[in-house]
């Protein structure tokens, strides 16, 4: 691990200023992904600004009837919250499908959104990777790409966003609230938060340098049957090959987003409108224009079957 200096921020704008003012500075909260990457020098911050004292660790009701989740609420605490379990079950289901108990106790809500890809070529510093070393190429294209992306990827990068929580937040239409070094605040719909790689896979999100996530808000509950179906190589503690977050209403309409397939939670509203016609009708539209490799083309079939399973579960035990 490279050497770095460390400070504890006392207020959000000061934290944002501390990071914006120093190239190479980063925020640290739970640290479970950042420290892992620092150990192998994929991440090499020169200064860490620890945000744990900023008080963003509460989940509060909003005047609109939704929830405001503090950026520092741990994954365990978010999944355990009685309001989340009752009204946003897909979110609890997605969180407990990810990582391990130890990691969920430490990882934060904002950190989960900001976690980096688990593409093995991003981790292997002997390999070309445009995300880790811009311009070096992509060893994953033409490499072993079974786990990697099938849609929304580019000629520069075929990595996926690896998380589960964000896939559920995408069907719940979450909004990410931030503050920057000038004190300016903005609210970013989760649909616009994670970038498609294009020519610049080194940048994962639309956040500016020093912009700090303060909270994630959920709109008022929409009812329906909440399901998170995750298909993976082990029954526990593994990343998704394909996951499906869904909220299915009694009339068979609903919302659906896919994980493990793209640079961001993959939701196509025109495709989910086909839900009453069945899984194949949805995925035909949702994955139109997909560019799978020979290793990961199975994900397209798997996505249809995983969604079919979700639709069947919703019929057996409706909301």
């Amino acid at each position: 691990m490279r050497a770095f200096t460390y400070e504890r921020a006392k207020d959000p704008v000061a934290a944002a200023r501390a990071v914006a003012a120093r190239p190479g500075a980063k925020f640290i909260a739970g640290g479970t992904n950042l420290l892992d990457l620092m150990k192998i020098e994929v991440e090499t911050p020169t200064h860490l600004v620890d945000v744990q004292d900023l008080g963003f660790n509460k989940i509060e009701a909003t005047p609109e009837g939704g929830l405001r989740i503090g950026a520092l609420v741990t994954n365990t605490d978010l999944a355990s919250d009685a309001r989340v379990r009752r009204d946003y079950g897909v979110l609890t289901r997605a969180i407990v499908a990810g990582a391990s108990g130890q990691l969920r106790n430490k990882a934060t809500t904002a950190g989960n959104l900001l976690q980096r890809t688990r593409c093995p070529y991003f981790y292997d510093t002997n390999m070309a990777c445009n995300k880790r070393a811009p311009g070096s190429g992509c060893a994953a294209i033409g490499g072993v790409s079974r786990q990697l992306g099938v849609i929304g990827v580019s000629d520069a990068c075929i990595a996926t966003f690896p998380g589960d929580m964000a896939v559920a937040m995408r069907v719940l239409d979450a909004t990410i609230e931030t503050v920057d070094a000038t004190g300016a605040r903005r609210a970013i719909p989760i649909a616009e938060f994670h970038r498609l790689w294009g020519e610049h896979p080194e940048t994962d999100t639309v956040l500016h340098s020093g912009e700090l996530i303060t909270a994630i808000t959920l709109p008022r509950p929409i009812g329906g049957r909440h399901i998170y179906e995750k298909v993976r190589d082990r029954a526990s503690y593994a990343y998704a090959l394909v996951s499906v977050a869904a909220v299915i209403q009694p009339d068979s309409t609903g919302r659906v987003a896919f994980g493990g397939v793209a640079p961001r939670p993959w939701r196509v509203e025109a495709a989910e409108a086909m839900l009453p016609k069945g899984a194949a009708a949805v995925t035909a539209l949702a994955f139109k224009g997909a560019t799978p490799t020979k290793d990961n083309a199975f994900k397209l079939t798997l996505a249809t079957r995983a969604l079919a399973s979700v639709i069947a579960q919703a019929k057996v035990t409706p909301a």
Binding site: Y6, T76, S80
Partner: protein
């Protein structure tokens, strides 16, 4: 007795070295060779941790993980370094009542926090019930993952009591119970290379008072 404990120490040394080698083999290639200009030092920082009920004030390089603080600076070597990447769970300790991977946390992030390690759970002659149950059910072979398994298991039972949900829970609005599938799911962050899982599950189930 002294001969047998000498043997135990050397056996552990060998096992530790073996695990470290295995960790290097599974970890992604190290980047040190590509980054020759990496050895700048950052100023050391003071940190006070309450470990097993006792305050310890140390001055540490900010890079020092909680795991290395316990092992290298305080010689609490019960907590083990397996993969050093949060994948194996050998380094599991309980911080402010929650189990975490001590390898993926910096000591300076834990100023004033209360840390419980395997040494703080019980002592020879006064074992924690979970330690006693692991002995009774033979919940290990080589023993390297055992401190992490036991710290994790103690925290798992507390999580079930507090109603923390899990992936295998059928109904999110019903309180979880410590059945076999629940224990296995909740313990999935602790890897046992010897494959003592069945006995580990039995040990935990006995402490939980549920059939394995």
């Amino acid at each position: 007795m002294s001969a047998s404990s000498d043997w135990a120490i050397s056996r552990r040394g060998v096992l530790g070295a073996g695990a470290a080698t295995a960790a290097v083999a599974v970890a992604p290639a190290m980047a040190a060779a590509q980054n020759p200009a990496k050895t700048m030092e950052a100023p050391k920082m003071p940190v006070t941790l309450k470990i097993n009920g006792q305050d310890h004030t140390l001055t540490l390089d900010p890079r020092t993980t909680l795991l290395d603080t316990l092992r290298e600076h305080l010689h609490l070597t019960g907590t083990k370094k397996g993969c050093d990447h949060g994948q194996c769970g050998a380094c599991t300790v309980i911080v402010n009542g929650r189990r975490i991977n001590s390898c993926l946390s910096l000591a300076v992030m834990h100023e004033g926090h209360q840390v419980t390690t395997i040494e703080g759970l019980g002592k020879p002659g006064a074992l924690h019930p979970m330690q006693a149950a692991f002995v009774k059910h033979d919940g290990y072979q080589c023993g390297y993952c055992t401190p992490g398994q036991i710290c994790s298991a103690v925290a798992v039972l507390d999580e079930i009591k507090r109603g923390v949900p899990s992936h295998v829970q059928a109904d999110l609005m019903t309180a979880p119970t410590p059945g076999n599938m629940e224990l296995r799911e909740r313990m999935s962050g602790n890897i046992c290379r010897c494959g003592a899982y069945s006995n580990i599950a039995e040990a935990i189930a006995e402490v939980a008072g549920s059939p394995a």
